[in-house]
Structure formats: structure tokens, C-alpha cells
Amino acid sequence: MGSRVEILNDGGYRSDGRRQFELRDIAIDLSRHGQADGSAMYTQGLTEVLVTVFGPREAKLRSQTIHNRANINVEVNIAAFSTGERRKRSRGDKRILELGAAIKSTFEPVIQTHLYPRSQIDIFVQVLQQDGGLLSAAINATTLALITAGIPLFDYVCAVSSGVHSTHAMLDLTTLEENDVPHLTVAVMPRTGKITLVTLETRLHSDRFEEVFRIACEAGKVLHEEMRNAIKARTSALARAMGEGHPAGAPSNREGDEDFEMGDD
């Protein structure tokens, strides 16, 4: 009954009980993930993304090495069970390639790639569940994973989707809302206020664009706070573990140091 759901009812509630400018519940899990140098499990509402980062390391193929900076390689995998209807997407799927390319181009100006010439940073994005805002969740998770991997970034990248229903702007859309409402995804670097990504795949009236865009930028700052808290919590836990001298669960020194500095800013 897709058509029968009111996107924004007269009482100002959305179909899931949120108001216009309320983001969905966010859960961040930064615990280590196997061999990966950094990883983050990011849940926003019912969208769940796991990002693992490997590197910087030597590129597997000579052809991919760039002499003066690191090459960023993004691979996306969408689990067949991530939507209600089981659907297997091949690796060559246009949608997946596009998602990967968007993430890559978002992070290219943010990662300090010039520090690692002739090397490669691999970002693996696993989509476990989707319910709208897939790109923004993937970007946020990648930011967190890169930080836990200790890769120097100029700033956080915080992405959020926003749409407009009639004249009302809304933040963080679910699939249901995305199907009904023109929406865009904005990725901001909150400290400088710079934008690294804006995507708009639906038609949106130009009069509305500015308002929606500004709201999304604002929301990026709120997200930044949330993400920073998660990183800080993890870092202080690590620092505490190091100080108390429990080497068993602690990561290697290099990582710990990096994290500490990041958390300190």
C-alpha cells in the first residue's frame, strides 16, 4: 500500500513517527574486524553498513600505482538479503559501480593521499540492510573506518540525505520516503563547511533546493558530533587499556597513537 502512506501528516509526523528534522537512530560499532586495518559498523535506522579498510599498502597491480599519491580503491557489495525482496546484484551492476565511484570521489579530496605515494587504500563496503540513505550511511561508515585505520584525513565527512515533501524539507529519508519525494544526498566536511558530494537523482524545484541543501549541511554538523563521540569513546577506551597495560586486546602502537591524536582535536 505504498500509495496510501502519508509522507508527512497534518500533525507534522512522518510515517515512522519522526518529525521533519529528526534523524533516525544511529548506532556505531568500531570494534576490530578480522584482518582489516580499520572497520566500522554503522546503523542508521534500518540501514546497516559495514566498512573495512585495508592499507595504505602496496598496490596489487602495477598499473594502479600512482607515483605521487595513494590510490583509493572502493568495492561495494550489497547483500542479497539487504532488502525485503531477495535480489542478487552482480559486481558489475551499474548501481553498485556508481555507489563505489561516488564514495571514491567523495574521499579523494579528504584523505591525505600525498603522504602515501605508490600505495593503495582499499575500502570495502558491505551493505547488510537497506532502508533509505544508503549512500550517506556508506560515506559515514567509511569516514569512521578510515579513522580507525589511522589514515590521515583533513576532516570528517558527514553525509545525510534530505528531501522535500510539498514545501516541507525533511531529513534522513527511509526507502518509503525516497520513493515518493525528491531527495538529495549531501556530504559535508563540518569543520570547514566544505561540501565534497551532492547527488540529486530526482527532479527538485530550484526554489526548494537551497533550503533543503542548507538543512542537510546543518544536519551534517549534528552527525559530526555523534560520530566524534563514538571515536572519542573508542579512543579513550584504547588509551585506558594501554595505560593499564593489557596488551591482549590493544591494537598495534601505530594505530593507537594515531587514534589518540585524532580524538584530541
Binding site: D10, G17, E22, A27, L46, H165, N179
Partner: protein, 1000 residues
């Protein structure tokens, strides 16, 4: 700046905060859907001065609740169940019912699912100034949110949710206002209002105050007036959906297998024909079958069984004792099914459907309840058992705005909506579209895809938008589409067939060896002129007349020689054959031939040499034909007159030049020809023709409408054209008895006139003799009412409607005795005189050219089947073109009325016109406004007495007097053009002003 927050959802309570369900997609796949739900503490209760719920926006409910109910002396709030809104909406809308209402989100959503129109009414109610409604979003508040339990039906869950909310309000009120122990006994009650007995039982068990609607209303002050508003459905209601959950059955009977249909038709117990819907009553249609003189009547949706106007259907005819007469009431689809819902999904069997069915059944029962019709009125009655061929195409429609689920302009969601076709002959079409909001108010093109036995309405899809309704471009295009007028510009292949000289083409200098001059007579020195309507560009006929030395008169009709340019079997010829005719709309002409030919090379313009095909007679002064010859010629018209100019010239005694003399001569013969024709029994029929005055060429805004004037010169041209056509017809029939292109008008069956004869006899005591066209013409002449000069015209218009339409045919395919033209009382007839705008004339030209040995006849014109095939297309195009131009005139009459009806401030002014009653219905009158050529319907809001036998309608007056209106009575109507809210269509509304005012 707005506050942006992140809502937290406790994962421990995933049962309450996540909703998991399975959904069947349109393709039949089952999909698991997971949705989140954010429960909040800040959903306000809506009662003013509540200390717990802060900052409530908008108007709130009074603290003490509603007063004035016997049972609740301390005030009360009504908390209605869904069934109250579904069945008692009229009551809830009543202004006397003014207690504060708490509307739960659960109820709101359930109403929305059940019936969108009711939901829209409910929303209007919530916003109404004089009502106190508060919407409480109970499903979003953590205390009142409800989860469906295992094995619980959605309906039970909703009931439980309503009770839970009701209980919460009770405790909330006592918590807020009951701190002072003295107050406890005087707190207002939150009353759960429901007609569901089971729900009330649960309430009693849980200690929730509850009441049935009737009981509640009885305790109110204005009980008596409110009780009338109570709908009967409420009382015995058990469970609104229970009865329907069983699943939706087939609404229509299945069709018989194709083989059975064919066999049945062959054996004679089934009958095949075209389905015609009744434009006045959408629940009725008929099928003309060869086995019966009267069409077979189909009554009710089920018997029409998904047939759409124009389909070739097979019907089964019932026993004679079940035969009925056609209905005499007007049943309008839009009003009967106003609340019907387009979204019939598997999950929610609509009980709204049941309501629609019920209403329809009632409409039919009302129909059948009338006294047994006289046997003469009864028609064979039957039902459709199968469809041989669907004739579906794209239809011009409007989106029905009330069927819209979400009207937000940015909504991209897929929704089901109704498209109402412009034509009254078609049912509403359901279509699913993502762009419904943007399509509102536009004319769109919709194609029917299918009509399943389980679906009440045919399903279609959106083809394209034509533009804003009532904009001239959109209306024009929609007209052309509706009547299937091919209006594409001519393609290159077609234009390549034109002479390469283009505009510069001239008749080559005289030279017998030049193919253009071969066997052509030089008539350039004849004093030839053309007489046409003003502004005519495609002049295809010109005339001349001179006295011969022997006292006889030579008269000539010269027709543009189109067949010189349009050669058989080339792309231009094929296109012209497909177009069949030029279509004239009020402000546009859609040509059959490229404009270069139509308005230049073939147009017999003055002072220019042109090729022509001439018919030249030698006539005695008494207009008897001495001999006739046909020849290709070259002419140079001396002048192009309008009818009016020619008339003035003829009447001016000072003018004695050759041209004027010629016109006078032509006129004198035309008068005699006409007399001869009338003596032979030709009919002088009337059709309501009006002329639209356009503002200027650029804006083409209509200013006014007036009736067309007939001048003497009109009839002059007409007589000679008839004479030419008849002469040509004789010639080509003689030469090509098997394949001549002729035109005939079959005598109408006597039964067609029965009703008119009966009306005339009963109302005016006049007799109509229909035994032959001559007898009819004579008796029509006697139908005169001295007190009422327009009466004769009116009878003629009505008589015209009883007749069949004329058609082209191939002489070899019908019997010699059926060649006659009934209306013209001529034994043989064809069309020869307008080859620029009619394709049949082009064929006649070719045949005549062959008959005079000018050229050999193209092989295709020797073939009977080929000529038949071409003519059937031409016949259809011709009919469509007539309807299109009529519709175009109607549209402009509407516009003119609108502009006339609006004064300078744009306020609508009333237009009152004289009209004549032409039909009586059970609940209305069909009237004809001769001044505007407009036919309309007057519906009575009051109960009226209808006498079918005497064709009268008796309207009771408030003062006890009664006024009787009969067919042929002169009445005054007030005409307004209203924009129908649903269809965005300008509808001409007529209201009777005299003798009775029906506006009240």
C-alpha cells in the same frame, strides 16, 4: 534555524519499535517489509490547560469538554470509532453536533484505507472552523502504541488500539486535572462512540465509557433533527469488514468461449452487434442486431458485462416477458459513484465497493419500480455473453481529483486514480500513475488495457498529457483525438507528389500538344464566378449561365480539377483516401490535401486561370434539361463572391453587367429546380446550425454565437451542385454499373418515427405521415403552430434525428432499388462538387473522366471490393468529421456563454434563453435552446410527477399549485457554464426559470 536531533530507538523493545509484515506485490511476489516506529512522549493530548502536554499548536479542546448531554453532566469528549465515520459521516458533519471530538490516528488511517472520498471529507471536517476536532497521534505515543498480536486481525488490533487510547485519555485527564480530590467526581468523560457491539462489550469489560451512536444522539438537545441524519447501516452493523474479508468474487460473469459465440450467432440464438452506451444513464446500453427492429436493451452493469462503446459484442436475448422499456431517468455516474474508491487492492476489500453496488442497485430498482411499460415501449432485453472485437483506443480523459490519495505536487508515489472520459458514453477508467497530482486539471490521453471480471472499472494507462483543460490548444487536440481525426502534417513523400513549381505553378499557355491542354476545352472567356461563405479559401466550385440564341439557357458548374494533380495510387492519394475528408473546426481546418492544392492550385480563385472539370447543361426556361455534357476545361473566374455580396449584387437593379445578369439567370433557374425537387418530395430538414464570431485571427477568442442565416444565393449554389451531382451520378452509373461511386440516403424505418408521431399526436393533435419522403415533407409543412413560430423548425430538427445518415456506396454492391436518396428525393446521387475536401468526389472525378474518354480508368476503380473498402473508410471519416466539428462548435458555444456570462469584474452573470422541451425524463427535462443550437438537461431537485404516456412532468409548487411542463412547451432556462470540480470540464448547466424555478 530549526532544531535537528537524532531520535533514539530502544533496541531492547524491538517488538514495539519495529513493524514487520509481509506484502504481496503487484506481480504476486510476497515480500517481507520491515518498518521502524519511533515512539515518543511528546504527542499532545489536545486538551487546553493540560500541564503535562506543553506547547500545543492551533486550537485546542475546552478543558471541561462538551456540555449539554443528559448522561454526561460534567462534560464529555467524543472519541469515535472508525465505523462512525464510515457510516455516519453526515451526522458528524452536522453543525448541531458540537461536542469536542478526539480523532485518533488509528481511526483516521482506517478511514483513509477504506475510502478516500470519506477521508477527504473527514479532513475537511478536522479543519472546519465550527468544529472542535483534535487529532491524537496515538500510534506514535509510547503509552498508546499498539502492536498486533499473534492471530489478531488488523481490525481487532485497531479496536484494541482505540480502547487503549480511550483508557489513556481517562487516566491522563485524572492525572492532570484530578490532583484536587474534590475534582475527581466532576471530571469530563471521554466517551468511546462505536456501533460495533463487540467492541462495546470489550469496553464494558475494561471499564471504558462507551455508547452507540443512536444512544448518544438521543441524549442530545437537538436529538430529533440529528436522528434523521443517522444512516440505517449503523444500527445492525456488526463488523465493517467481516463480511467482505471472505475475498472478492467476480463482479461480472465470465465470457463464453469464442467458438460458442460464433456457433451461437450462426445458429441464431445469440446476436452480434455494436455496443452503444446510453449517455444519459450509465447503467444502460443497447445493441442493434439484425434480427430485431428495435435495439436490444442491456440494463445494469452486469448485463452490459464490461462492454465499452463501440465494441462488437454478442448478446443473448431474454424471454419476452422479461423485456423492458428503456429508462426514463437520468443516472449520472459522477454523482452515484462519488465516493467510490479507485484503489481496490487485495489486502483491503473495500466495503465502499459494497456501498457503491448498493447505490447502483437502488438506482436500478427505482427504475424497475415504475409501472409495467406498455408493450409498445418494450424492447428486446438481454445481456452480453461475449466480445468479438474490442474497439478500444486512446480516450481523452480528466483525472478525478477526489480519487487522489495524495495531492502534494511533489509526491512521486504510485497511486490509483479514476480518469473520467470526456465522452459520456464511456465508463470511468482506473489507472495507476506516479504523476497524478500534476495531471489534475489537464486533459490527458488514456488507453484501456483490460477489464477483468473482478474489476468494477476497466484498467488503463496514461499515454500523454494534452495540456491544461479549457485551453484552446488542448481542447482542439483532444477533439481531434476523440474523433480520430488524422491531423499530422503531411509527410515528405506526400509533398513530393505536388507539382515542383509549387506556388508558381500556372496553367501552361494554350497548346494542344501540352498534356495539360489535351482534350481540354478553353472556357476562359466565359463569365464565371464563384459564390462561397465568407473567408473561404478552398473554392472548389464556380458557376456561369448565359442565354442561348434559341431561347434556352446554358448553365455550367465548374469544379476544381483535383484529379489532374492527385494521381491514383501515389502517396498523396493514399493519404487523402485515409483522411477521407477535410475537417472543419471552429478555428482550424484539417486539410485532406496539402494546402498548396487546396487553397491555391485547385482553388478556383478569381482572375487566375485554373483547370476545372465542367458540367454544362442546356436548360429550357422551365429548368428542364435538354442535354448535358461533361468536359475538362480551363477557366478563369471573373469574381469570387460571398453569399451576401452575390445577394446584394443580384438585388441591385442598377447593375446590369454580364456577371450580375448571370447570377440572376442562375437564380431564376435555381428557384425552378428547387420547386421541381420539392414537388418530387424532397425534404426540407433543419439542423441547429450556429455560427461563431471569432474575436480576431490572432487570439481567436469567441465573442458571440448567432444562428446561420440562409440567403437566396445559398440555395442557388446548392441547387446547381445538386443538379451537377445527380447528372454525374447518372453518367458514371451508366458507364460503370459495377463500381460507380454513389451516395444514398436510405428511407428510415417507420419505427424510428413512432415516438415523435406519438408525441405530436398527444401534445398537439397533429399527424405525421411517414409513408414516403413526399408525404413526410407535406405533413411536416402542416406542423405549424401559429402562436409559436419556432415550432416547425423544432419538429423538423426532431424528425431529422429519426432518420438514418446518408452514406457512400459502390453501385455494384447493393440492389438497384436501394440507390435512392431519401432526403433529396432523387433516384440517384453522388458527390462530385467538392473534390478538394472530400475523397469520394476525387473518385467520382476519375470515373467521370474515364466515362467521357478523357483518361483510362485506374484498375483499382474497376474493382468493386476496392471501391467498397475505400468508401467504408470515407464514410467513417465523414461521420467522425461531422461529430468533431459539432463538438468544436459546442466547445465554443460554451466559451462564448462564459464570456457573455461574465461582466467586467469577472463575476458570472446569468444568461437566460428561451428553450423548448424536447424530451421528458423521470427526473428531468431535455431542452433545446435554438438560439445557441444547444441541447441541455434540466434536472429537478424536488420530487416531480412524471407522466410517460403524455410526455409531461408535473412540478409541485410550494403554494400547493402544480405546474405541468410538456414536450414542445416553451420554457426559459438560465444557462451557466460551470467547471465540474471533478473533471475540470466546463459543463453547461441549465436551470429552469419559467414556468417554475428549479434552482431551489
Amino acid at each position: 534555524m530549526v532544531e535537528i536531533t537524532i531520535r533514539k530507538r530502544p533496541h531492547a523493545e524491538a517488538v514495539a519499535t519495529q513493524r514487520k509484515f509481509f506484502k504481496k506485490t503487484a506481480r504476486g511476489k510476497v515480500v517481507k517489509v520491515l518498518r521502524e516506529r519511533y515512539l515518543r512522549e511528546d504527542v499532545p493530548c489536545g486538551i487546553s490547560h493540560c500541564t503535562i502536554c506543553p506547547g500545543m499548536p492551533g486550537t485546542t479542546l475546552p478543558t471541561s469538554g462538551g456540555q449539554g448531554h443528559k448522561s454526561y453532566p460534567h462534560g464529555h469528549f467524543i472519541l469515535p470509532d472508525t465505523n462512525v465515520f464510515l457510516h455516519q459521516m453526515d451526522l458528524m458533519e452536522a453543525s448541531q453536533l458540537n461536542a469536542p471530538v478526539i480523532l485518533l490516528q488509528t481511526v483516521l488511517e482506517e478511514v483513509r484505507h477504506r475510502s478516500l472520498p470519506l477521508y477527504n471529507r473527514l479532513r475537511a471536517l478536522v479543519k472546519a472552523e465550527d468544529k472542535q476536532f483534535w487529532v491524537y497521534y496515538n500510534e506514535f505515543r509510547s503509552e498508546t502504541a499498539c502492536i498486533r498480536l499473534d492471530g489478531e486481525t488488523p481490525n481487532d488490533r485497531n479496536d484494541r488500539s482505540i480502547r487503549k487510547a480511550s483508557d489513556w485519555y481517562k487516566s491522563h485527564i485524572s492525572q492532570v486535572f484530578g490532583r484536587n480530590p474534590q475534582n475527581i467526581s466532576t471530571l469530563p468523560t471521554v466517551l468511546l462512540l462505536t456501533d460495533d457491539a463487540a467492541n462495546r462489550k470489550f469496553c464494558d469489560a475494561e471499564g471504558i465509557p462507551n455508547s452507540s451512536v443512536r444512544k448518544y444522539v438521543e441524549g442530545l438537545k437537538d436529538a430529533t433533527s440529528l436522528l434523521d441524519l443517522l444512516s440505517a447501516a449503523g444500527e445492525t452493523e456488526i463488523e465493517p469488514t467481516a463480511a467482505l474479508v471472505a475475498g472478492r468474487g467476480a463482479l461480472y460473469p465470465e465470457y463464453m468461449p469464442q467458438a460458442n459465440l460464433v456457433a451461437g450467432v450462426k445458429a441464431g440464438h445469440l446476436h452480434q452487434g455494436h455496443f452503444n452506451a446510453n449517455p444519459y444513464n450509465y447503467l444502460e446500453g443497447n445493441v442493434t442486431v439484425p434480427a430485431h427492429t428495435k435495439p436490444v436493451l442491456l440494463i445494469g452493469r452486469e448485463h452490459m458485462n464490461r462492454a465499452v462503446q463501440g465494441d462488437v459484442v454478442v448478446v443473448e436475448i431474454f424471454d419476452e416477458k422479461e423485456w423492458k422499456a428503456p429508462a426514463d431517468a437520468v443516472v449520472d455516474q459522477e454523482t452515484t459513484l462519488k465516493n467510490d474508491d479507485p484503489d481496490e487492492s487485495e489486502e483491503e476489500p473495500d466495503d465502499e465497493n459494497a456501498l457503491a453496488e448498493e447505490r447502483e442497485r437502488r438506482a436500478l430498482v427505482r427504475e424497475n419500480a415504475r409501472k409495467q411499460p406498455a408493450s409498445s415501449e418494450r424492447q428486446p432485453t438481454g445481456r452480453v455473453v461475449g466480445i468479438i472485437k474490442r474497439n478500444w483506443r486512446a480516450y481523452v480523459c480528466h483525472i478525478d481529483s477526489t480519487s487522489l490519495a495524495s495531492s502534494s505536487a511533489t509526491s512521486l508515489s504510485l497511486q490509483s486514480v479514476f480518469a473520467t472520459p470526456v465522452s459520456r458514453f464511456l465508463p470511468r477508467i482506473r489507472l495507476r500513475t506516479r504523476q497524478a497530482p500534476t495531471l489534475i486539471g489537464q486533459k490527458i490521453l488514456v488507453t484501456i488495457d483490460r477489464w477483468d471480471a473482478t474489476s468494477r472499472y476497466p484498467e488503463g494507462h496514461f499515454v500523454r498529457a494534452l495540456g491544461r483543460a479549457e485551453s484552446k490548444e488542448a481542447e482542439q487536440e483532444s477533439l481531434m483525438l476523440e474523433f480520430e481525426v488524422p491531423y499530422r502534417p503531411f509527410g515528405k513523400a506526400i509533398l513530393d507528389c505536388l507539382p515542383p513549381e509549387g506556388e508558381q505553378w500556372v496553367v501552361p499557355p494554350k497548346d494542344p500538344n501540352n498534356p495539360a491542354w489535351r482534350n481540354r476545352e478553353d472556357l476562359r472567356d466565359k463569365v464565371i464566378c464563384s459564390i462561397d461563405p465568407p473567408g473561404c479559401q478552398d473554392i472548389d466550385d464556380a458557376l456561369h449561365a448565359t442565354m442561348l440564341p434559341n431561347g434556352n439557357i446554358e448553365a455550367g458548374v465548374h469544379i476544381a480539377d483535383v484529379s489532374y494533380f492527385v494521381l491514383p495510387d501515389n502517396p498523396m492519394d493514399a493519404e487523402a483516401a485515409a483522411r477521407g475528408t477535410t475537417v472543419y473546426l471552429v478555428d482550424k481546418r484539417i486539410d485532406m490535401l496539402p494546402a498548396l492544392l487546396g487553397t491555391n492550385l485547385c482553388s478556383l480563385r478569381p482572375h487566375v486561370e485554373r483547370l476545372a472539370f465542367s458540367v454544362i447543361w442546356e436548360l429550357t426556361p422551365d429548368a428542364q434539361i435538354v442535354n448535358v455534357r461533361f468536359t475538362k476545361s480551363v477557366i478563369a473566374s471573373k469574381s469570387a463572391f460571398t453569399y451576401e455580396e452575390a445577394q446584394i449584387r443580384k438585388d441591385d437593379p442598377h447593375r446590369q453587367d454580364e456577371l450580375t445578369q448571370g447570377i440572376r439567370l442562375l437564380n431564376s433557374i435555381a428557384i425552378k429546380l428547387r420547386q421541381q425537387r420539392m414537388d418530387a418530395g424532397a425534404l426540407n430538414l433543419a439542423s441547429p446550425e450556429v455560427k461563431i464570431h471569432l474575436d480576431s485571427a490572432e487570439t481567436s477568442g469567441p465573442i458571440d454565437v448567432e444562428q446561420k442565416q440562409m440567403l437566396e444565393t445559398n440555395s442557388l449554389v446548392e441547387e446547381f451542385m445538386l443538379l451537377a451531382n445527380i447528372s454525374v451520378a447518372k453518367k458514371i452509373q451508366e458507364t460503370f454499373p459495377q463500381s460507380a461511386v454513389l451516395r444514398r440516403h436510405l428511407p428510415p424505418p417507420k419505427t424510428n418515427f413512432e415516438k415523435l408521431q406519438d408525441i405530436l399526436l398527444k401534445r398537439k393533435g397533429m399527424k405525421l405521415d411517414v409513408s414516403s419522403s413526399g408525404a413526410l415533407a407535406a405533413s411536416l409543412d402542416k406542423c405549424v403552430d401559429s402562436a409559436f413560430p419556432a415550432f416547425n423548425t423544432l419538429v423538423r430538427i426532431m424528425a431529422t434525428r429519426c432518420m438514418l445518415s446518408a452514406e457512400y456506396f459502390c453501385s455494384g454492391s447493393v440492389g438497384r432499388d436501394t440507390f435512392g436518396h431519401y432526403g433529396l428525393a432523387s433516384p440517384i446521387y453522388t458527390h462530385f462538387t467538392s473534390p478538394i475536401r472530400r475523397y469520394a468526389d476525387v473518385l467520382a472525378h476519375r470515373q467521370l473522366a474515364a466515362a467521357i474518354n478523357y483518361a483510362s480508368l485506374h484498375a483499382t476503380l474497376h474493382s468493386k471490393t476496392h471501391v467498397e473498402q475505400v468508401l467504408s473508410v470515407v464514410n467513417r471519416r465523414h461521420r467522425m468529421a461531422q461529430m468533431a466539428s459539432r463538438a468544436s462548435v459546442e466547445f465554443y458555444v460554451g466559451l462564448a456563454l462564459k464570456s457573455r456570462g461574465a461582466d467586467k469584474d469577472g463575476k458570472p452573470k446569468e444568461v437566460q434563453e428561451e428553450a423548448f422541451v424536447i424530451r421528458t425524463f423521470r427526473n428531468g427535462l431535455g431542452v433545446f435552446v435554438s438560439k445557441l443550437g444547444l441541447e441541455g438537461l434540466v434536472l429537478f431537485k424536488r420530487e416531480i410527477k412524471f407522466d410517460a404516456e403524455n410526455y409531461t412532468v408535473t412540478v409541485p409548487q410550494p403554494k400547493g399549485k402544480e405546474v405541468t411542463v410538456a414536450v414542445f412547451d416553451k420554457v426559459t432556462v438560465r444557462i451557466t457554464v460551470e467547471k465540474d470540480r471533478n473533471t475540470q470540464r466546463g459543463v453547461v448547466k441549465m436551470v429552469l426559470v419559467e414556468p417554475v424555478d428549479t434552482s431551489t
